[in-house]
């Protein structure tokens, strides 16, 4: 830092601090993305990446397709520029005839029926469902994007958090049509408070984004950029990633076990292979927002599913985030939720019986 102080403290380049760009490029190369300097823009994290993309490519009235449910920070950005946002369902369980992740038939008919400006996807460990798209679906999405000539924004922020050894290729790796705008950040592995992320895209798109970035805040703070450059160059990021992956995998296991041990019948959840969250479906008629009120009183927080929907919210869904809790806390939290659900279920059962009796008299 002493060595580079002068450069870090003075005004910098809009596309990013040179040494950080080099370090990110070599990370990308090691992960199978042969990006060059002119295809890379440093941002203040993924949220700004989305904001810059909206500013650069989306105008009021344009149609943007998102996953449903999706990360609310994404829909907020596109709603703000008054895009017409359409949500395509995400399948959280693989049933016969369908695969995990974004519903490909619904996606195809949406692309066929609308002039879509941008498609926003999180193929790996999607927030909020934790779902990942199988390889075949990824190829199919790219085919569709190419057929309808729709750029795909790939949110890659969770992709390194695979619990097992296998890691599926991302859309950017599979992309032959140069239609993928790949966004990523260090935030889910290290130091979210520093706000550093990046965009990988074809050089002309990056040039447009760079100009927008310049208008937006000149450049990302260089102290944070230089910090990450060192962190990457010294191999500390990779080391830290290995550690975080193990911790997250243990927590995911603990959550799954706790759910299996305590949840009453009728509650369903998926089993993501990594990421930071699990998606729960309560029996029909249950409202996760109401459950939330009672859980909060007992010191347990989760995110009601309706918070994440672009349209047609399912009130009986919720997201459990496990990344920032230890295994004991996870066990306790799940027990509280399961107990509350059981109480509610008994109440409903009694209510239903009473209603049956009453109804019988009135028929």
């Amino acid at each position: 830092m002493r060595r580079e102080g002068r450069e870090v403290l003075t005004i910098g380049a809009s596309d990013g601090y040179g040494p950080l760009k080099e370090a990110i490029l070599s990370l990308l190369h090691s992960e199978g993305i042969p990006a060059r300097d002119e295809m890379l823009l440093v941002t203040n994290g993924c949220q700004q990446a989305l904001d810059l993309i909206a500013k650069a490519f989306v105008r009021s009235g344009d149609t943007v397709v998102l996953e449903n449910p999706t990360y609310p920070g994404a829909s907020a950005v596109f709603n703000r520029v008054r895009a017409h946002c359409i949500g395509v369902p995400v399948r959280t369980s693989a049933e016969p005839g369908s695969t995990l992740g974004v519903d490909l038939e619904a996606l195809e008919s949406t692309l066929a029926a609308n002039r879509v400006k941008l498609l926003i996807l999180t193929p790996d460990f999607q927030n909020p469902t934790g779902t990942s798209m199988p390889l075949a679906s990824r190829r199919r999405v790219l085919e569709l994007a190419s057929r309808y000539q729709v750029p795909v924004v790939e949110d890659h922020i969770y992709a390194r958090l695979h619990a097992g050894d296998e890691r599926l290729p991302c859309l950017k790796q599979l992309d032959r049509s140069n239609l993928v705008i790949h966004i990523d950040s260090f935030a889910k592995v290290a130091f979210p408070g520093l706000r550093v992320g990046w965009i990988v895209a074809p050089a002309p798109a990056i040039e447009r984004l760079r100009l927008i970035k310049q208008m937006t805040d000149l450049h990302t703070g260089q102290l944070a950029q230089a910090t990450f450059a060192e962190f990457l160059k010294r191999g500390l990021f990779q080391k830290h990633l290995v550690r975080m992956r193990r911790i997250y995998a243990d927590r995911l296991n603990a959550l799954d076990e706790a759910l299996r041990k305590t949840m009453p019948e009728g509650v369903r959840w998926n089993r993501p292979e990594g990421g930071m969250c699990v998606w729960l479906e309560l029996p029909p008629g249950f409202d996760a927002s109401e459950l939330m009120i009672h859980a909060r009183e007992r010191g347990v927080l989760f995110a009601p599913g309706r918070y994440f929907y672009v349209q047609s919210p399912l009130p009986n869904t919720l997201r459990l985030g496990f990344a920032n809790l230890n295994e004991k806390q996870i066990g306790r939290g799940v027990t509280v939720i399961a107990d509350l659900l059981r109480v509610e279920m008994r109440k409903r059962l009694r209510g239903a019986r009473r209603a049956e009796r009453t109804h019988m008299a009135l028929v």
Copy 2:
């Protein structure tokens, strides 16, 4: 830093890092602005402040009034959201019946003739002209803003760079109608590469801006924020400011002397009382962009005036920035420009004589 590490590195508050907000508030109090926490938002510098303000308050087709000439980063932001930008002339020399700074009569007639959404002003050492508005003009601007109920964005970024001891009260200090949105940054005094600035405005406006900030990039990087918090709390900012003011004042003097010593007759310039630049007017018919080509060949750079105009550019104007050059460099640069101008003037004189002779034969 070690003490606060945990908090700095994790995700933070959209309105800013607590210790930095406290430090900025006490800076503001010492400068006569009695702001409270809910009236302050930390941004990634003034450029982002402008971007957030445009996002929060300006829609396509809204009229925004700027100074003409103005900082191109400001007009870029409002053009991008497709505002209708109107430039009001800035007077760089006080002639009988007019005062320095934004032309008050033109401003009043613009406000009367348009439904103006926002007025953007830099009352102190305006970029690019270096001009400051006298106290009476500041009061008049606030009267007009109040009469037409137009919020005024005050860019305060250069205000601390006064060469003499006197410092005029800023609009925010004089504001009785709660119409001033005050933006500022450390960048012109220290570490522009860290990208930290702020907005002071009425609490409801700050709350709206905070939500936009959250959508834009969650929050400003906390490593940079914590660095500035320490810098302020230890009194290093004030110490550094005193030093920078003296250095800039010496450079301004050196520039003025060099201009007086070397510039050919017919070239006019103003004598700002601080800031970072001086505004030059070449004789009518001269083009600063052409002059620039020749100056660049001799290793001298300046900014042609046309770059700064919202409308009706004057091609014979240019901005000389003196802040980043020592006195020797300033002297050399001015000499090169003066020599080039003299050569060009002689050429024109010969051309004019020749033209006179030729014309006589053809009459």
